[in-house]
């Protein structure tokens, strides 16, 4: 069983599983978003987690002081995601039945004083958080390491936990892409959300049915492409950034077979069986064409779909193209991951001479 889980946990398998589960969750959110489901989930996950913790290797990783916040994150995220789905489901049922959302009930629309209602409760939160942080600091001492040595980097060298998703992206992308371009696009995209998403539905109340695309695409980026990568980077990457299953001992000398090939090498050498052209652009022409096509043709193609047409009609030309552009950039990550796993693809466009690798 442990071997099976170790095997399943490898990104090549766990990423599709996770993605599948995510879409199942979105598809059947009304089932997921019930108290019954919540209780059952809790009832099942407690013994499962306990069984996981019985393994010393798993426990060692979980209790590593650096990883405590990530444990907390996972618990909080699971609960909060369920909570929002629960509220969405409740409201959507009411909306279907022709009622107003719970938030719109008269008793919930009543206005109250900021003092003491808001300020007092905020004080509670401040005190409770302080208590929590102090107790945490007492129980789990700050993990002191050896003095930094320029000639001897710790192995594995891990980024702060909130950056581990980015670090995991480095496995699939050139540092320039994973470290600069993609994070930049993420930031720009997040800033752009209020300007792109002008759908007034869902303001002040939970609903999924009225804005399925916005919620799904956001949660996909957040849960699957960010949180999932953090989990992998934290718990499943050991020395030499090699993958280790949750029950695997971090043996320093573990070796993994991994040999990656560029797209241009595939095309010229493997398929066409001719020498690679000297001209750099010509050499990478297939990748360049593919990338340009991906970025330019797809937005127009998307207009042919039903969803595309609807969205275009709703949001207008500029908003529509910005949204699609951001969306396909986001999707480039899973696409690249899948390509890596399927054909050991290193770079679609490999121009190390220009420091441009895609």
């Amino acid at each position: 069983m442990r071997e099976l889980i170790n095997w399943l946990a490898e990104p090549i398998r766990s990423f599709p599983i996770f993605t599948f589960l995510f879409f199942m969750m979105m598809r059947y959110y009304k089932v997921v978003g019930t108290k019954k489901f919540g209780y059952w989930g809790l009832a099942i996950s407690i013994p499962v987690v306990a069984w996981f913790c019985a393994d010393p290797n798993f426990l060692a990783i979980i209790l590593w002081p650096d990883n405590i916040p990530i444990n907390i994150i996972i618990i909080m995220l699971t609960f909060l995601t369920w909570l929002s789905l629960y509220k969405c489901a409740e409201n959507d049922k009411r909306i279907e039945a022709g009622e107003c959302p719970i938030e719109a009930l008269p008793e919930n629309r009543e206005k109250v004083w900021a003092w003491p209602n808001l300020v007092y409760t905020e004080l509670f939160v401040i005190i409770a958080t302080t208590i929590f942080l102090v107790v945490w600091a007492i129980i789990f001492k700050a993990p002191l390491e050896e003095p930094a040595n320029v000639t001897w980097a710790p192995n594995p060298a891990k980024a702060p936990w909130y950056f581990l998703g980015l670090q995991e992206m480095l496995v699939y992308f050139d540092p320039w892409m994973a470290g600069v371009v993609l994070p930049g696009v993420i930031v720009v995209g997040l800033i752009a959300i209020p300007f792109i998403d002008t759908n007034p539905k869902g303001n002040g109340y939970y609903t999924f049915a009225e804005r399925p695309l916005a919620i799904t695409s956001f949660l996909f980026g957040w849960l699957v492409l960010w949180i999932y990568l953090i989990i992998v980077g934290t718990f499943l990457r050991g020395p030499n950034w090699t993958f280790y299953g949750p029950f695997e001992y971090w043996d320093f000398h573990k070796v993994v077979a991994d040999y990656n090939v560029n797209l241009s090498e595939y095309v010229w050498i493997k398929i066409l069986n001719v020498p690679m052209p000297k001209n750099l652009v010509l050499r990478e022409i297939f990748g360049i064409i593919g990338t340009v096509a991906y970025l330019t043709v797809l937005p127009f193609l998307s207009l042919k779909t039903k969803i595309g047409k609807e969205l275009y009609a709703k949001s207008g030309t500029i908003r529509y193209y910005i949204f699609v552009f951001l969306f396909i950039i986001m999707m480039s990550l899973p696409i690249k991951m899948v390509l890596r796993w399927l054909i050991n693809l290193k770079y679609i466009v490999a121009l190390p001479e220009w420091e441009l690798n895609l």
Partner: protein, 947 residues
Amino acid sequence: MSKKQEPGMAFNMQKLNKIFAFLSVAFLITVVWMFLDDYMRPWKAVQLKGIKIKQEKVLKDIEAAEKEINTDSLAKFEMQLEASRKTVESRKKAIEAVEDEMNMIVKELKNETIVKGIANSQVSAVGFQYGVAHSHHYSNEKDLYKKLQGLKKDFAESSERMKILQAKEKSLKRKVLTFSKEVRDTERSIEGIIGKRELLLGAKKKLAMDPIFVLRNLPIIDFLDPTLKIRQVVLENITDDRYFRHVPKVDRCMTCHLFIDEKGYEKQENPYKTHPNLDLMVGAKGKHPMKKFGCTTCHGGEGHRVNDFNSAAHMPKDLAQQKDWEKKYNWHEPHKVPIVQFRRGQYEAGCVKCHSNVEYIPEATVLNQGRRNIRKFGCYGCHKIKGWEHNRKPGPSLEKIASKVSKEFFKNWVWSPKSFNKHAKMPQFFNQTNNNSPEFIRKNITEVNAIAEYVYNKSKPYKPFAKYTGGSSKRGKKLVKEVGCMACHGVKDFTVGSKKVDAFVGPYLSGIGTKVKNRENWLVSWLLKPSHYQKDTVMPSFRLSRREANDIATYLLSKKNKKFEELKFEPMSKTVRDELLVEYFSAFSPADVAKVKLSKMSDHERTMELGYRSVGKYGCYSCHNIEGFEGRAPIGPELTKLGSKPLTQFGFGHEKVSHSRDGWIKAHLLNPRRWDNGADKPFKDLLRMPQFDMTEKQASDITVALIGQVADKVPATGVKQLDKDEAVVAEGMKIVTKYNCIGCHQIDGAYGDILPLYDEDINQGPPRLVGQGHRVQADWLHHFLDNVTPIRFFDKEFAATPIRMPSFNFTNEERNKLVALFQHKSKQKTFEDNTKKVVWERGERRGALKLVESLACNSCHAGLAGSPSEPTAPNLKLAKRRLRPSWIKKWLKDPQAILEGTPMPSFWEDGESMDEDIFGGDPERQQNALVKYLLEIGVDSLSPNQK
């Protein structure tokens, strides 16, 4: 939501207040918890217990001190005190009068101080004003000058008055003291008796756990002046490498090891124990005081961390202690610590980083054993270790090997040296755990054949100069035992003795008849003059006669290893040879090209090529001189910084070995090929470090020497700097270890491996060299080392085959270094004034002659009238140029003090002369006269053979 709350309120205020109350209490508890967590440190408990231990000790000391007090005399003095107090009381009036007078003087003095101070400041100020006025020719210049003179006068007068007052005060003080003299004297006597107890009582008071103690150590208040506190030393001269900079080392070990530098806690449990060797370490008066050298400098580990037992990176000495610590201290493997502490028994590893450039370190027993074993097994041959570069290759030269052993023997020997001689120093390369599959054995056999062909092909011709004529094996055996061979060679026939000496510089002598079969002339030549065969050999000539050499040769040749002799080494398979060559050639070129390359070579060339590559592959050239490999770097990785190599860089393979540096090194030494277990490697990638068949003890001693090889850079001010003399001595010791002088000679009480063979009469063994540089003159020793002549003779029975100082093939530079070694060790000047004429005092010479007669010097010593024909003591006529006069006098005074057990009698025991008649029995004059006499009769030659 219930609707209990008032309008405008989302919550029930009562409920919110309750939550607030609950949170406030929880917050308070957390804060208290935080303070307690910060306050309660494990080391505080340790210190508290330490205080209790100290209290107990002080109580015991007080008891002991009280026992020492002589109560009778104390009572007497107390009565006396009473009486003298009364006497003083009677002078009360006089005392009071003097005291009154004194008070007045003190008052006036105070007044005068003020007056003088004011005058002084005014003189300075007006002096400055006048100076300005003078240089600028102001009109008030003259007025100021006048004013200044007046002030100066005032000041001088005040000074004068003050001096008078001070003198008065002094005399009055003295007067007061004389009045109370009796009381003070008695008090001083009483203090002499009970002073120690009083001091101890004071100490006890300081240790008391009273309310003040509690107050000083209360939480928060304890930042002011706590008694329980972290103790530390900061070492400016020794730094910790923090990679971006070096910071002074901070050791806080004494926070828990409270009494490490105090005597009297030897029997306490750790951490309260006294350091076991205070004179050498830690003790304030020792060689390495704690204030200067700290703890982790030698012990390793994290000296500045005191959180708990684990943070200092303590390491258990064995599994039992580990189990114990796990239970007691929750011990776990230290992580994220670059250098963990050395385990018990390995502490001496800490010496290495500061004490470089010396062969052996005084008092470092384990480490010296490790270094001796590194020398014995020749680790430095294949592995570069800084500080070992000057050593010669551990194996013999193979440049003329063909004339010494047969090719067949050579191959069998290379294949398995231990099966010829289980004490062989040559390690085993073949038939090991990682290369004993039939395929690998076949390849190895081919390689050994090729190596033999290569080495024999390169071997230069050698013609022995002497002929073997046969002799007496019995006499030969006796010679081997007695002439001194065993200082460097173990001998199979003398197993017990060999074990005692544990010689390793030369090969263990067994089966020589098999080894040099059909090369008898070589053996005789070698015995007569080793340097004839090999110029740079360290084997000396014992100045054997032809007969003696033949006797020894006969004896050695009679020792055979029949089983080994019958071994036939499998001949080379040409197909395997070609296969191996193709593998070599195809490292950088395709197999076809390699095959073409091979096909262009002749049969001989192929064998030579494989031989050459195999010698390179196994690193034979690292230990042996082989033509074609001059100047090639040794084969093994450098070990200079092995002790700092990150643990993750040690390949533990799949072996179940303790994951620590010392665990790896020891396991590696015991079986170097173990890391290949479970690794499916091709032939060319197999591990090649050979098997030395070490004992566990040898392996762990070497481990200690190696884990001390750390990369830490200790600042020049912190490491042991050899002074001018020590540097010369260290240089000389390199020659001493090269030629193994210490195999025979003890130098100032150390070394002398062969001496245990002379338990019964140590004087029959090689001379022990004590203060040798003071004893002999530099030019004599320099001459002697190149022209060895017997100095003393032994009794008749022994004289046939006495142990003898052999003639080494020293270069002049080496002889100079040896002479300088002794000279600087004894801190002597180079030359004595040998041309000075002896000047006698009146009657002194007559006295000297009488003394020589009455002490019967001629009964043992040669060179005097009436000396025996077989004298047992050195020729006194040669003393003049051999011995230093100051040493002769020291020797005469007390020979036993210099050389315990010497047959030379002490004539002036306890400073009493045996002959009271001469010079009135004044030992000093008698000894001086004898020294002068020896100088007078001395001949001006460095040896009896010199004209």
